[in-house]
Symmetry: C2
């Protein structure tokens, strides 16, 4: 088929998005070029700008445009409690409960030996440094209650306890097998309160 080369390149580039196969990519390219070129140009700029300006917070490792993110900079936060989550979306879910006023450490992933993701890929050393700053009194493990999340919590717990830190885990109010991002806020709030 004599399809425009720039269009083929666009379809290939869209396929790098997670969950997008060749059919969806073609549909997306068609939609953008036929009906929403302004949206396409906006997306191009947003991608470029995010790649240029978004990096990791020096303290909690989440995405930020500053050296230290706004949450870590917030002087009203209880700096003695550090909550460890897998992703910014999980942190966001915890924040929406308004049940936690401490600080966070965002792993930006989880242990997954099958995918070759080991302790260093989720910033274990950085977490140990962060939790060992002498101010943090308790590390609350809020990784997901999936097999990988539990394994991650287990490994982190061992290593943090070996440094003499108090380690707690969200209570099992959260249904097993579910991801925080999709759990209702009340359940998350209870799980925070009942942490063990």
């Amino acid at each position: 088929m004599a399809q425009a080369h720039a269009l083929q390149v666009l379809v290939e580039a869209l396929r790098r998005l997670p969950g997008v196969g060749v059919k969806s990519a073609s549909r997306m390219a068609f939609h953008l070029l036929q009906h929403d070129r302004a949206g396409a140009r906006q997306l191009a700029q947003a991608l470029q700008h995010a790649c240029d300006s978004v990096h990791h917070c020096r303290l909690c490792h989440t995405f930020t445009e500053h050296e230290v993110c706004e949450t870590c900079q917030d002087a009203s936060r209880d700096r003695s409690k550090l909550c460890v989550v897998e992703t910014p979306a999980d942190q966001s879910a915890l924040e929406r409960t308004q049940a936690f006023r401490g600080l966070y450490f965002v792993l930006m992933g989880k242990l997954s030996p099958l995918d070759g993701i080991g302790p260093q890929d989720i910033g274990l050393d950085r977490l140990l440094d962060r939790a060992g700053d002498g101010v943090v009194q308790e590390v609350i493990l809020a990784t997901n209650f999936t097999a990988e999340g539990e394994a991650t919590a287990h490994v982190l717990s061992e290593r943090l306890k070996a440094r003499g830190l108090k380690v707690t885990r969200l209570a099992r109010g959260v249904p097993a097998g579910s991801e925080l991002e999709y759990v209702d806020l009340g359940t998350i709030a209870h799980a925070l309160h009942d942490r063990r």
Copy 2:
């Protein structure tokens, strides 16, 4: 949540893609920034380049980087037959059959009164001009066999016939390789009616 502004802008821009809600957009943004910044930059460039260089073929209205697309330029094509399709993907499907060596007209859509898409939005005047060039002898309507595709074919057929053009429609029938027992009754009825 103190989420990086550039990240929020990116999530919003990704939501303009068809079929992408806020959860998928967040997942896409996270994936690109955490695991595939090269892919993000490539996508930005591909979008920009496609917007700058892809426009419509003067003759068949499909996407091309030239004034006239490669198919329309192909001197070996039978210029007396013009096949009307809804999208480049439909044209592509027909090309893969290798059963048609004429030329195409791509509507880049279909009639859809509920969405406010009328005859001018699918280039009716352009099609009438194109089909009335004195060389085209037969217009083959290959819009989809959906309610909207059939309605589109009906309207185009009326207008083309009013110009004295010969208009045909792809045959409706039993798909190759299928057993009658498992084919829906409407399809069998159509196949009976269109028997040759």
